[in-house]
Symmetry: C2
Subunit: 100 residues, 2 copies
DNA sequence: TTTATAGTTTTATATATATCAAACTATTAT
DNA sequence: ATAATAGTTTGATATATATAAAACTATAAA
């Protein structure tokens, strides 16, 4: 018997709510969708080409996603690469990403 | 080949985003979870006993859910009964509700 | 070493959101 | 008829959010 099934951890619920919050914004929805569709990390610049928003707004949304644990960022030179934490998301909300 | 798979309708995406918005709030999350768990309609009063928030706040959240098409409300006498639109939600985001 | 580029942070602003008290509506009970 | 009950709506308020311009940081290129 899975105790998680009976009473989910508060932090798990919080993480889910953060995911929902992230996906409730059209810009962040597109970012997550794009990252999931390409299936691998993506440079901020490239992301910005596909999701058309001001670069400072983009930076704001990417920070929101990062701080929620939804994405991870890697720096190389003066560019940054963003990865969607697919496994982490899938472990809490299986099937969610493929239905965006 | 499913055209929806390739390019989801704007309104479908909007509905998903509304569901995500609804579930990003702890109060509404609990309401939806409760409605899903009981598996049938529930009186506002009973809901209010389980989800402890001010009745006017509850009314506000229930209106948010109703106007987003996430729930349906039925009036009987001076009481109101709320139903979760499970099928509608499942058709856009299958598996979501069971993972809350 | 100067300049260009990628991205962040700050600041300002407008709008959205959550909350609750108080007044209100409609229905049932006395 | 009057009072009680269930729920909504209206203010008022405090906080959160999204947006973008401008200043800033760090790295790469000239």
């Amino acid at each position: 018997m899975n105790i998680k099934q009976l009473s989910p951890d508060v932090s798990e619920t919080q993480f889910k709510q953060q995911i929902f919050f992230a996906l409730s914004d059209p810009g962040r929805y597109k970012i997550v969708q794009m990252l999931y569709d390409v299936g691998h990390e993506m440079g901020c610049g490239k992301l910005n080409q596909h999701v058309e928003i001001d670069k400072s707004t983009m930076s704001y949304h990417l920070r929101t996603l990062r701080e929620a644990g939804i994405t991870t960022t890697r720096t190389q030179g003066r560019e940054k690469y963003v990865t969607l934490n697919v496994e982490k998301i899938e472990s809490e909300l299986p099937g969610l990403l493929e239905n965006l």
